[in-house]
Subunit: 110 residues, 2 copies
């Protein structure tokens, strides 16, 4: 088992890409202790409105956050499912036991 398909790899790359930006990580960190509306994130991170909106979209497209509209505000929160998926993905990349004992002394390309 545990042979990743091309699709798994694609999905993982997308997830990691969404996580590869400091602003986005800061947003996730703010959301760790609960829902926040865009304006709060904006204040605390002092990021231009459209910039923040862009990053929220990336996070949302990756499934890392969920939005909830309430009147003229939109509240964002973490999507726990995806964080579980992320943990599994990362666990899957850990070096496997029964791994290392391979090609000792032999030239590699015979």
């Amino acid at each position: 088992m545990s042979t990743s398909t091309a699709n798994d790899v694609r999905r993982a790359a997308r997830l990691f890409h969404a996580l590869s930006d400091e602003t986005r990580l800061s947003v996730l960190e703010m959301l760790r202790d609960g829902e926040r509306c865009v304006c709060e994130l904006q204040d605390e991170l002092d990021a231009a409105q459209s910039r923040l909106s862009f990053h929220l979209k990336v996070l949302k497209d990756a499934g890392l956050v969920i939005d909830r509209k309430e009147g003229r505000w939109v509240h964002y929160s973490l999507n726990p499912e995806t964080f579980t998926e992320l943990q599994d993905t990362v666990a899957g990349f850990k070096p496997s036991r029964r791994a290392m004992p391979l090609r000792r002394g032999a030239a590699c390309c015979d």
Copy 2:
């Protein structure tokens, strides 16, 4: 505890960036069951030599892999330490318990 500094965020973004590419993830996957030399990776992924070399450098700079020279070959393997770090980082982003119960019903920006 567990308040991430700006440096933590920077480091995490760097790590995630290194993981955000399909070719690099495929390399890591191949390395899961042991050391491989560049030529083997090249064959199996069929990637141009300089392209692969570029991606290996990204992985190495991020600390995800280690290289070992042997004659004219270079063997790459996973760096387990960094994968542990990665797991910790990811665990740190999981939604915290005692999180959700916040701003119910109240408008957000009063």
